[in-house]
């Protein structure tokens, strides 16, 4: 599903965020990216949905070399990739329902599809009673559920999660991880960057460890270390 071939990424000012990274992630896998801040976890995620482009090496997503994608096709790549973040990135002026519906509206889905899919996904994430609330009226865990609903409503092949439990207490984090696990079981590939040792250790999934832009460990059913 996702292949990195000797990928390097150098930011302005000669900061090498990623150096010769190679890894293959199969369809339906659940992968943790671990490592200290600045080790290149977020860069890997940003390269996958082409928010950044690699300076060296090649990246394949769903069989396509994404560096060769013309810029007008990038939105169509992103429709296959859901994203969630530590800060949720919800629109404060929109209700829970509208936040999720927005993701479908702006890619031109017809009204009846929006009307059918938004309530269904809100039920899946356990927020069917909060559709008309504003984000500020929700707890952190609930806000992250809204952002997961938004990322998953279009049934993407891949879900990228950048520190999704970074702002949440351990109990709430467990709930979020259960939800991600459930989404992963539908066949969606999940790639999650995290600092959360206990989550990685309990889940026992594949772990890719980065250090100063290099992959130093790639272990099936690994732990945080």
């Amino acid at each position: 599903m996702i292949t990195f071939e000797h990928v390097s990424k150098i930011y302005k000012g000669d900061v090498e965020a990623l150096h010769g990274a190679s890894a293959t992630i199969e369809k339906g896998e659940f992968v943790f990216l671990v490592g200290p801040s600045g080790s290149g976890k977020s860069t890997m995620l940003r390269l996958i949905n082409r928010e950044e482009t690699a300076d060296k090496g090649r990246i394949f997503v769903a069989g396509k070399d994404i560096a060769r994608l013309s810029s007008w096709r990038v939105p169509y790549l992103r429709r296959n990739i859901g994203c969630i973040f530590q800060d949720y990135k919800l629109l404060a002026s929109k209700t829970v329902y509208d936040n999720v519906a927005f993701a479908l509206e702006v890619i031109g889905r017809p009204r009846h599809v929006v009307k059918a899919q938004v309530p269904a996904i809100l039920e899946l994430v356990g927020l069917d009673g909060k559709a008309q609330n504003l984000p500020e009226e929700l707890s952190g865990g609930e806000q992250q559920r809204v952002s997961i609903a938004r990322a998953f409503v279009n049934r993407p092949l891949i879900l990228l999660a950048d520190e999704p439990t970074g702002n949440l207490d351990p109990a709430t984090s467990v709930g979020i991880m259960r939800l991600l696990d459930r989404i992963n079981r539908t066949g969606t590939t999940v790639v999650m960057a995290t600092h959360d040792r206990s989550i990685v250790d309990t889940m026992q999934r594949r772990v890719i460890e980065l250090e100063q832009g290099e992959i130093v460990r790639d272990q099936a059913r690994g732990v945080y270390q």
Binding site: P75, R78, E105, G108, R150, N154
Partner: protein, 298 residues
Amino acid sequence: MKFDYIFRETVNNLRRNVTLTIAAIMTVAVSLALFGSTLLVRQGVDNVTVRWRDGIELIAFLRADVTDEQRTAIEAVLDESPEVADVRYVDREASHSEAMRLFERNEAMRAKLEANPDLVPDSYRVSPASNEIDLMASLGQQLAEQPGVLEVTDVSDSVKTVTGVSTFAQRAMLVVGVGLLVAALLLILNAIRMAMFARRREIEVMKLVGATNWFIRVPFMLEGIVQGLVGAGLALGAVFGLDRFMQRAAEHEDYRNIMEGFVATSTELWGTAAVVIALGVVIGAAGSGWALSRFLRV
């Protein structure tokens, strides 16, 4: 769904920065009003001085009953005179259609012309070889004495003054108009930039979920174009107002002599309107396009 969304977003954007929107619209309006008025005044001046184009400074109108011999004699005088650079013969039909065009919107004058096609006589239009006023005056006198000549008119000081003053005024208005047009462009650029800043989170989410670039851009483009169009609409009000004023002055007893013909024809008026509208759209599209290409990385 899509049109719905685009319409809603465009209206929201315009409402969100209402003060900047008003500033942009007013600047567009003032600059285009100056532009449109300049065009209109120029057409008016062109029309009132149409007989004096191409350096013509002397016109000999012929009697309706002029004979061929008299004509030959007049042409001989013109041919022999060293002061004459060029002569153009304008017959009755050409003069008539010229007058009909100029007085297109003046019903009374048209009726008079229709009833009496010979009202505008044949003429010789003379452009001089030099600027010597005395020489031209003596040539005029010579022509006036020829049998068959009804009347000789030379370019009057008033025509020269009108042309001179209007050329200056047009240039000044054009300079101010262009300056304001640039200001309008920058204001629209900033209005769009503010709108994009206000919506940066939505834009970020739209990019993440895979909205196409055009989908993200269109509401901002429309916002700029609406500002340009509304400004152009207001400017049109000023242009039509000026046109009405010119026409009323032309019909007024006291000013008829000065203002006669000093109106644009309806083709010219609508041409001016089209130019104003087109400029409004171009300014709006350019301002927002510039903002998008500079501040919206996709």
